[in-house]
Every structure is written in C-alpha cells, then in structure tokens.
C-alpha cells in the first residue's frame, strides 16, 4: 500500500501573528513553525495503517525553504521518504493552484491513499484533499474520524457530519481522505528515529510557479476589529483575582 501524507508548515498556535507593512504577508520573525495540527493526526494514521497492513509512507509538502523542518520531523516519526516542492517566491497562492502544483508533482507516484489534514490552521480552506481527489480522479471522504481496511483496495471510514451525526463510508482505492483531529494519538519522534531520518531520501523540486495563473488575488491582511465592548481587568494576579470575585458576586451574581 502506497500512502501519501500532505503536510504543511504553519505558525505554532501560541506565536504572535504580525502583519508586515505591505499588508499582504505575515512577519516571520519570532514565529515558531510546526506541522499543521490535523496533518499531524493524518501522519499518525498513515503510520498506523502501514504498521498494520504494510506499505510505504511518503510525506509531501509545498512550501518555502524552511518547510524542510516538518519533512525531517515526519521522517523521524517513521515516514519513509519525502517530496519537498520548494516555493522559491513565497507569496499568497490560491488553494486551487496549490492543488494543481501538488498534483502535477505526485501523480506519477500512483498513491493508493492520500491523507491530508481537514484544514490548514493558517489559510483554513478545508479544500486541498478534495481538490486533489478530483484532479486525480480518486474517491474521497472528508472529516474522517476513524479508518478500517476492508480488503486490499477498499477502506471504510467514519465521517463527522452536521449536528452530532456520524456516518461510515466505504471507499475504493485510490482515495483521498481529510483527517480530523483526535482520530488517534500522534507519536513523538524518538532519538532513534531522528538518527534514521538522516538517511531517508527527500526529493527536492524547485518549482517555478510562473506557469500557474492565479485565480484570486489577496488584497489585504488586517487584524479584525472587535464586535463587543470588553471590560479589561488589569493589575497584579491578586488584584485581578479579587476584581473577578467582585464581578462574580455583584455584577454577574453567581457567587
């Protein structure tokens, strides 16, 4: 079984996001980059599938030079090799073009399963896995919460639906699944894995994006304005705590 996991580098959730003066890019200084949350679960699911049923796990990312870090992490956790599509001119690229770029560079691999995160924490499109499914003419399922192999070329997945509903769906290979967080418990890279990762192959592709015509244009990034008047409570921790008690007792009246 040949499994591809699409992973993306995003800022750590606790990073402070600052917008550059061009109003179109994010200031990358002081940002810690990590693998996108749901992609981490997707990677774990791929490793579990491989451990149970055999096969190969290939991780693929399209991003700037610094994305090398997440490929290394994924290899250290147990992925077998990497495909690193390097974006030499990082700027906003609409997700339809991202899908074309990735598809163009992985289609010859003929993967049985392509796993991706449900949504990237930075651009939040919730799209890539399905765009690629269409481009490669595979089956697909989104919001996957559980997987179960039925036979060599069929998989059953549990999907999360609206208002607390779930559904099992059977899919023929090749297939593209978008993974929801919480599906498993992602492992950490062990020292042995980190050592072994050094010898694992990473195919680096320097991409010239000029062949891809943009569909959308990013006009402006800005910090959203507040919709509610918030009363901020300041001071040392003791003062804050005593003001809160006061509010709970006298304003909200729950004490």
């Amino acid at each position: 079984m040949k499994i591809c996991v699409l992973i993306k580098q995003v800022p750590d959730k606790d990073s402070k996001i600052r917008i550059n003066s061009d109003s179109k890019t994010i200031d990358s200084t002081n940002i810690t980059n990590i693998i996108n949350e749901s992609d981490n679960y997707a990677l774990e699911e791929a490793l579990l599938l491989k451990e149970k049923h055999g096969g190969e796990v290939v991780v693929c990312t399209f991003g700037n030079e610094s994305s090398n870090g997440i490929i290394k992490t994924a290899l250290a956790k147990g992925a077998d090799r990497g495909i690193f599509i390097i974006n030499t001119k990082p700027h906003y690229i609409d997700i339809l073009n991202v899908a074309k770029i990735i598809t163009d560079n992985i289609k010859s691999e003929k993967f049985d399963i392509i796993l991706s995160g449900l949504q990237s924490d930075d651009s939040g499109n919730c799209q890539l896995g399905l765009l690629i499914a269409e481009m490669l003419n595979t089956s697909h399922a989104s919001l996957v919460m559980s997987t179960e192999m039925i036979d060599d070329s069929t998989i059953k997945v549990k999907q999360e639906l609206e208002s607390g509903w779930f559904q099992w769906t059977e899919l023929n290979f090749p297939t593209s699944l978008t993974i929801q967080s919480g599906i498993n418990t992602p492992r950490y890279a062990a020292l042995r894995g980190i050592m072994m990762a050094k010898n694992k192959p990473v195919e680096k592709i320097e991409l010239d994006i000029s062949g891809y015509t943009p569909f959308l244009s990013l006009e402006k990034l800005y910090i959203p304005s507040k919709s509610k008047e918030t009363q901020f409570i300041n001071g040392a921790p003791e003062e804050i705590a005593s003001t809160i008690v006061n509010i709970l007792a006298n304003e909200i009246k729950v004490l």
Binding site: H140, N172, T185, L218, I223, T230, I240, A241, A249, I252
Partner: protein, 318 residues
C-alpha cells in the same frame, strides 16, 4: 450579477446558515441587473423558499440520498444551464465534502468560510478569517467564483420577504458513484453530561498545556459549583471526555457565566458558547479572538491567576 445559492436542509427545514446566506446576498445583489436563484433538493422547504425575495427556486426532484459525486453532477449541470457569476454555499460539514471537488471540476476558485462580500466591477471582494480568526484577509475574485459563508456571517432575520417561483426539474443523471458508498447515518450515544443547562461553565483550552495542570481548572470549577467544559484539543488529547467539549462538534451552551481559560476562541469554539449571558476570558495573548466576544477580559498568565482566583472564591464563600 447572477447568484446561485445551494440550499441545504435538515429534518425538512432550511439550515439557518442558508437563510443567512440568502439574506447576505440580497443585501449585496440589489440592482435591477442582479438576480438570485436557489437550488434545493428537498421539496418540503419549497413553501418557505417561496416567501423570500429571490428570482427562481430550482427543485431537483430525482435525487437519492447524499452522495458527494452525485451532488457535484447536479451542481455542474445547473451551473452550465444558468451560468451564475457566484455560486454560494454555507460552510457546513456537507459542503466541505463536495464543494471543493466542484471547484476543481469546473476550474473555478472556491473561497471558503467567508464572513463578508462586496460587489466589485467584475467580481467580488470576499473577507475570510485566517490564522484561526487572528487575521482577516480580503480576497478579490473575478466571476465566476464559488463562495461559502461562515455560520453567523449574516443575519437571518434581515432576510427580505417577497414571492418567488419554483421550477421543478429532474436531471436523469446517469453517473457512477460506486467508488464512494455512504452507509447509514447514526448518532453516538449521549454522554451523561448536559452542559446546556449549566449556570456556570469553567472551560479550559490548550493553554493549560499539560494534563498535570488540569487540576487547576477542576478546583476552580468546583469552587464555583460549575460544570467543566473545554475546547476540542483538550478532548483530542484525552484530558477530558468528549461530552465536555463545547463548540461546533461538541455542545452548544448558554450559561449565565462562561469562563474561558486558555482558549483562543476559534470560530468552531465560538459557535458553541457565544450565546452565553456573560463571557469572561483569561488569555495571555491580547489579540486572541476570544476577546472579540468577551464581556470581561483578563490578559495574563492563567497559571498565576487561576490558583489565586480559586483561593479567593473559597475565602469569599467561607
């Protein structure tokens, strides 16, 4: 400009987020050259749709249960017939399961989870959240474009009423959907905890950082006789059972006091708690989106504030 809105239904009712979309689009497409059509598959909402000020409602009559591949073909066929400039969805779970594929099939971009739309010369300017609500992005799209709106982006009660006609149509689609076989829908057995009736909820997020720290919020919650709630990651990590999760894939709550501790306030969390009477948030990041909806805000370290607060509450009560 011509819009086509896909109407999603549940239990024979139009999803609220779809009525919101109609309302939002009515406000933007309001000249004589504009028109709004809807597309729906469940005849039981025909009566309601006909009370709104839109052009034509298209009812597709020969549809079996949901299959993403079939829905894509329906939309593809109606789009080629009607040539809309914008194709509109609500950003629901079902939309996520087929609209992106439609985008790839038609080679039309899809801007998902938008919160605003403005008409421009030859397209639309769309606003969407990025970085989990910490940043807004304005994106210019030439028509045709596919757009989905976040729930709550527009007000359903501002919808313009009027009359509209319904055209019935059967498409006789003969497509092979065998590669995707949805089985029956089901609900998981309900947990013991019903957060929706709680008066006070102390809710904890990833900011608590380690399972060993969970006792801090548990003690605070006990001191207030509150129910303990949480954001999704805390449940994903296994630190609390799913029945304590608040949000779009958890419970929807509206207590007198919602105390959010170390929760950033992503939209999927907000939809579960923004109806609370009073929202108080403790977060070290002054730009955390939770402060956009909080009545009371404390910018600070939860590890310094929570233990003190628990102590003072206990003192207050004795």
């Amino acid at each position: 400009m011509k819009a086509l809105i896909f109407i999603q239904t549940e239990d024979n009712k139009i999803l609220r987020s779809c009525t919101e979309s109609i309302s939002g689009i009515q406000a933007v497409l309001n000249t004589a050259d504009d028109s709004i059509d809807t597309l729906f598959l469940d005849s039981s909402v025909q009566g309601e749709l006909e009370t709104y000020e839109v052009n034509i409602n298209h009812l597709i009559t020969d549809i079996r249960k949901f299959n993403p591949l079939e829905y894509i073909c329906i939309m593809e066929s109606m789009i080629s017939e009607l040539s809309p400039d914008i194709i509109i969805f609500s950003h629901t779970y079902q939309t996520r399961d087929w609209a992106p594929r439609l985008s790839a099939r038609l080679n039309i971009p899809f801007v998902s989870d938008c919160i605003n739309i403005v008409k421009e010369e030859d397209g639309v300017l769309l606003t969407k959240q990025m970085y989990q609500g910490k940043v807004n992005a304005d994106i210019l799209a030439k028509s045709p474009v596919i757009v989905s709106f976040q729930s709550g982006a527009f007000r359903a009660d501002e919808i313009k009423e009027g009359t509209s006609d319904t055209h019935e149509k059967s498409l006789n689609l003969n497509i092979n959907t065998e590669s995707i076989r949805p089985l029956d829908k089901f609900k998981e057995s309900k947990g013991e905890v019903d957060l929706s009736s709680a008066e006070i909820i102390v809710s904890v997020g990833r900011g608590i950082s380690k399972e060993e720290h969970m006792h801090l919020v548990k003690e605070l919650s006990e001191s207030l006789s509150a129910e303990l709630g949480s954001s999704r990651p805390v449940v994903d990590y296994g630190w609390l059972p799913h029945e304590r999760q608040v949000g779009s894939s958890g419970q929807v709550v509206s207590p007198k006091l919602y105390l959010a501790i170390g929760i950033s306030g992503a939209i999927q969390h907000q939809v579960g708690m923004k109806g609370s009477d009073n929202i108080m948030a403790i977060n070290k990041d002054p730009n955390a989106p939770i402060f956009e909806i909080a009545d009371y805000g404390i910018v600070g370290d939860l590890f310094e504030i929570v233990p003190k607060l628990t102590e003072l509450i206990k003192n207050h009560q004795s």
